[in-house]
Symmetry: C2
Amino acid sequence: MNRRLFTFVGGDAGNWRVVSTNTVIGDPLPEVQKLQIVAGSDFPTEPPGWLLRGITSNERYVIREEKNQLLDKQQGLGRPEASFAALIPIRKTASWWALTQDERRTILEEHSQHIKIGLHYLPAIARRLHHCRDLSENEPFDFITWFEFAPAHEAEFNQLVDKLRTSEEWKYVDREIDFRLVLDGC
Amino acid sequence: MNRRLFTFVGGDAGNWRVVSTNTVIGDPLPEVQKLQIVAGSDFPTEPPGWLLRGITSNERYVIREEKNQLLDKQQGLGRPEASFAALIPIRKTASWWALTQDERRTILEEHSQHIKIGLHYLPAIARRLHHCRDLSENEPFDFITWFEFAPAHEAEFNQLVDKLRTSEEWKYVDREIDFRLVLDGC
């Protein structure tokens, strides 16, 4: 089976070491030392810190031309040089979710250039987007994005998130935490 | 809390009586006599037949103009005269889910008039759409739609589903079951 569901377990185990935790907006999560990423949702023991689940899904906004550019430029997770990572769970407001598809697309891309900004930082920044909102009625976040990059590209990654956070789309973000991580042994 | 998650329990209990079960395409489900609809996912006992879960979510295709027409014309579930119902779970192919947003929208509306056809049968036919695909990796269907209408509008409801089933969009449906139900005591 092609796994779609991933569990991010914050605690004292895992091969990613948490080097900073920045609560950008909304409620924080308990500080943890390590992160473990598990395929599926069957995490065997009680998490010592927190546990976030997300599922990869069909794209909601990209049009064919953008998709082809993404496919052409993007690289996968797990590159040996990509020893830096960021885990950024976000939640959007009820007013965002009440918008229609065309209104959300206009804000996300025509006004905020979310897709174009992401494209600009490919292939340096690899990412996997996980959807949470429709896993249950009570998810703490709507999306979890996992990013991987080489240490040399950290400044570019910071530019990327800065651009998004000042965009019109981000006015609809009411919870966001930015965890930065380093691969164990790096 | 505004409930979004619903469980449809097919068995020998519930206030909707199953009067027909038509497997349109794909694998059937066991035949059952009754249907119970439960808010949330905590169904206390082992279901005697089957159990399908779905979650209401943001709209994926309608644009503002269509949304305004829908809001203007549609009526809610639970109308006293609406003693007939249909439960139609469907699954779409992997090729559907691999399309981009603009490609899916083109097929769904510009080629298949899914939204326009639905609008035509308002307010007679009330509906609630539930998403299943992102509840887990292993859901048996992608969507569950629940329809309610008065007995006098049954022929129109049949027209509606016939139109959709002959549309280009339905070429991407690889599992569909059409349950028809009558409210107990009617």
